[in-house]
């Protein structure tokens, strides 16, 4: 094995790219869960976003429009979940699973004529001054725009939850929906908006895989990324900033094992490929998570 073939700067730079789809999907789910809704359909919304984004980008030639299409696709699919759980009061765990199974089938059907096509080029930004700093420049400031969009969304979500009135209402709905309802807040409306935001973010994360990371469409290409995003929300104790830490940890393991594969380590490839999933389990075990939102996963029915 030749460890010297691994370039630490490139490793850290690709870590940021590997973490981006997880960050996008996880920050959306974080808002959903803070509003008291457990949507296990992240994987399904991600893969639908991946295929919608790819189709739009290939047909228009613009990756930007692709990402917008992906966000819309993810949000529309999440409406299905919202309708079932908020208006028909269906079990959230079962509906989330159904959304994933449905999304996997839907994406396979939509994408069947797009297999083997290459996505349009999505150039990296070379941020003028900052990108020229040695070492830090290539690691942090020479990525494609979506890396920074992901980070911006995390910061925005953090500020929204901490400082804005709407964020306070959202947290109240998630902590105790009976009390929020008694105060006159529209529990179902808040939750529907949160669910749609989660769907749009998951869609963006999926499109990042099909347009930047891979960049191709293959069936089932998210390969559990949506589930890892769910795990990272738990790891982050429902706090936006800790979510970044979790996603970078995960990105680090992914990139490191890919590099070890390329360097020809003595461990068989299959065992290295397991490592991101095993790392996620380890993280779930080691990090005793904080308190979940009080009403998480419970249906709300205004009976009085």
């Amino acid at each position: 094995m030749d460890l010297s073939a691994i370039n630490p700067i490139l490793l850290l730079a690709s870590l940021m790219v590997a973490a981006t789809p997880i960050i996008l999907a996880a920050v959306g789910e974080l808002i959903v869960e803070r509003a008291g809704v457990l949507n296990l359909g992240v994987e399904g919304m991600m893969i639908t976003g991946a295929v919608c984004g790819f189709i739009v980008a290939v047909n228009t030639g613009s990756p930007f429009l692709g990402f917008i299409g992906a966000a819309i696709g993810g949000a529309v699919l999440s409406l299905l979940f919202g309708f079932l759980t908020q208006f028909l009061l269906a079990n959230q765990v079962a509906t989330g699973l159904a959304l994933t199974l449905f999304g996997l089938g839907l994406s396979a059907l939509m994408g069947q004529n797009y297999i083997g096509i290459k996505a349009p080029e999505f150039p990296d930004w070379h941020i003028p001054l900052l990108g020229d700093i040695p070492v830090i420049g290539p690691i942090v400031f020479q990525h494609d725009p979506m890396v920074y969009v992901g980070l911006a969304i995390v910061v925005a979500v953090w500020a929204f939850l901490k400082f804005s009135r709407a964020g306070l209402v959202l947290r109240a709905v998630g902590e105790n929906h009976e009390a929020a309802h008694a105060l006159g807040y529209h529990v179902v409306r808040v939750r529907m908006l949160a669910i749609m935001f989660g769907g749009a973010c998951a869609g963006l994360g999926g499109a990042y895989l099909s347009l930047v990371r891979v960049p191709q469409w293959t069936e089932g290409m998210t390969a559990g990324a949506g589930w890892i995003a769910l795990a990272i929300v738990v790891f982050a104790s429902w706090k936006p900033m800790r979510l970044l830490l979790g996603a970078y940890l995960f990105g680090g393991v992914t990139v490191l094992q890919l590099n070890l594969q390329a360097a020809g380590m003595a461990i068989p490839v299959e065992y290295l490929s397991m490592s991101p999933y095993l790392a996620t389990i380890a993280v779930l075990v080691i990090m005793r998570s904080g308190r979940a939102p009080g009403s998480l996963g419970q249906s709300f029915h205004a009976s009085r």
Binding site: P268, M274, Y277, I281
Partner: protein
């Protein structure tokens, strides 16, 4: 304005009618989907739901119904215990794979010895393999309070990599001229799970029927079944009644993992024949739909497994005869679960018209 009013008790009529209505709605929506794909809707639906049973080639398809239905029923029966108690084992697909690997490994280790003890030993290994794989999330939940949904699902991806490694190196057929995949167990008399290949009968079918009867008796006549139902409906009441919630998690995970492992073993030693990279075809996930469609009730699960098997076989016929994409069938199966959850609102709630109907 439509209002929902909670029923004091779930409606018995709707509990039975909801799955049937969901199937009808799926057929209608599926028909629209097929029409959108440019296929004749009625003909496609007939091909999927009726041709496997009544067409001139039905003699070929009917045994297939047993072959596809058995693993679905076996896994879904196991899952239904946990789902009733609010323990969500979503990783049956992984337990199915590991059961198949463990069972096949035993058979391959003693090849080519012939003995009547080999197959029972393989079954035991398969059950234990699946059980241990399911106990990982179970023990982690009990010890560290980790989420069993996420851990069991992560282990599916780990199991898939394990399967690839087994098929490519450890269990590869030494006489296979370098091709991936193990020896063919179905052609090794002592290890084959076939009873009659022409009738579609293998030991997995027998095991599925035994599991249905066993689950029915346990749930309706035994203390354990009562505890499971109680824990699902009211965890607090269950604790007061002396149900140990941790033990319940381990037992439910163990049962579902063991049955999924058994299903994997019967499949690898019969219909699939060998450990290969693409051995698993998603029975573990479809079984979740089967469990819900069957109302988590053993008899219901048996019927639901039959219906799901029908869509698999009918889907294959429609794929080869009408050029229907395979993903359309997958989409239809997902749609079925959606409609079921949607219609289920009628089981627990009464629909009232007009504002202020609720008091």
């Amino acid at each position: 304005m439509l209002m929902l009013e909670k029923r004091p008790q779930p409606s018995k009529t709707w509990t039975l009618a909801a799955p049937i209505l969901a199937v009808i709605l799926t057929m209608i929506c599926g028909g629209l989907l097929f029409a959108a794909l440019g296929k004749a809707p009625l003909e496609t639906i007939r091909t999927i739901f009726l041709d496997p049973l009544f067409s001139e080639f039905a003699w070929f398809y009917r045994p297939q119904l047993l072959i596809k239905g058995a693993p679905l029923a076996l896994i879904a029966i196991g899952l239904s215990f946990g789902f009733r108690a609010g323990i969500w084992n979503i990783g049956a697909e992984g337990q199915y794979i590991v059961g198949a690997i463990c069972g096949a490994a035993v058979g391959l280790a003693v090849y080519p010895t012939e003995s009547i003890f080999i197959f029972p030993l393989m079954v035991i290994a398969g059950v234990l393999g699946g059980m241990l794989w399911a106990l990982i999330p179970g023990i982690l939940k009990v010890k560290f309070d980790t989420n069993e949904i996420l851990v069991s699902l992560m282990l599916v991806y780990v199991a898939e990599q394990l399967l690839a490694s087994m098929a490519l190196s450890t269990l590869r057929n030494p006489e296979g001229m370098g091709f991936p995949g193990s020896r063919n167990l179905a052609k090794y008399d002592s290890a084959s799970s076939w009873i009659s290949e022409n009738a579609g009968m293998h030991w997995g079918v027998v095991a599925a029927f035994i599991a249905v009867i066993f689950a029915y008796v346990t749930l309706s006549r035994h203390q354990f079944g009562f505890n499971v139902r109680l824990a699902g409906q009211s965890p607090r009441a269950a604790r007061f009644a002396g149900v140990n919630p941790k033990l319940l998690v381990l037992v439910c995970m163990g049962i579902s993992g063991g049955l999924a492992g058994a299903a994997g073993l019967f499949e690898v030693a019969g219909p699939a024949g060998q450990i290969s990279i693409d051995f698993n075809v998603g029975y573990g996930f479809t079984a979740i739909i089967v469990a819900f469609l069957g109302r988590l009730h053993p008899i219901g699960i048996l019927l639901a497994a039959g219906l799901m098997a029908l869509t698999y076989i009918g889907g294959e016929i429609a794929q080869s005869n009408l050029g229907l994409p395979g993903a359309a069938i997958q989409l239809m199966q997902g749609m079925l679960l959606f409609f079921l959850l949607m219609v289920d609102v009628l089981t627990n709630y009464r629909v009232r018209f007009g504002k202020g109907a609720t008091t």
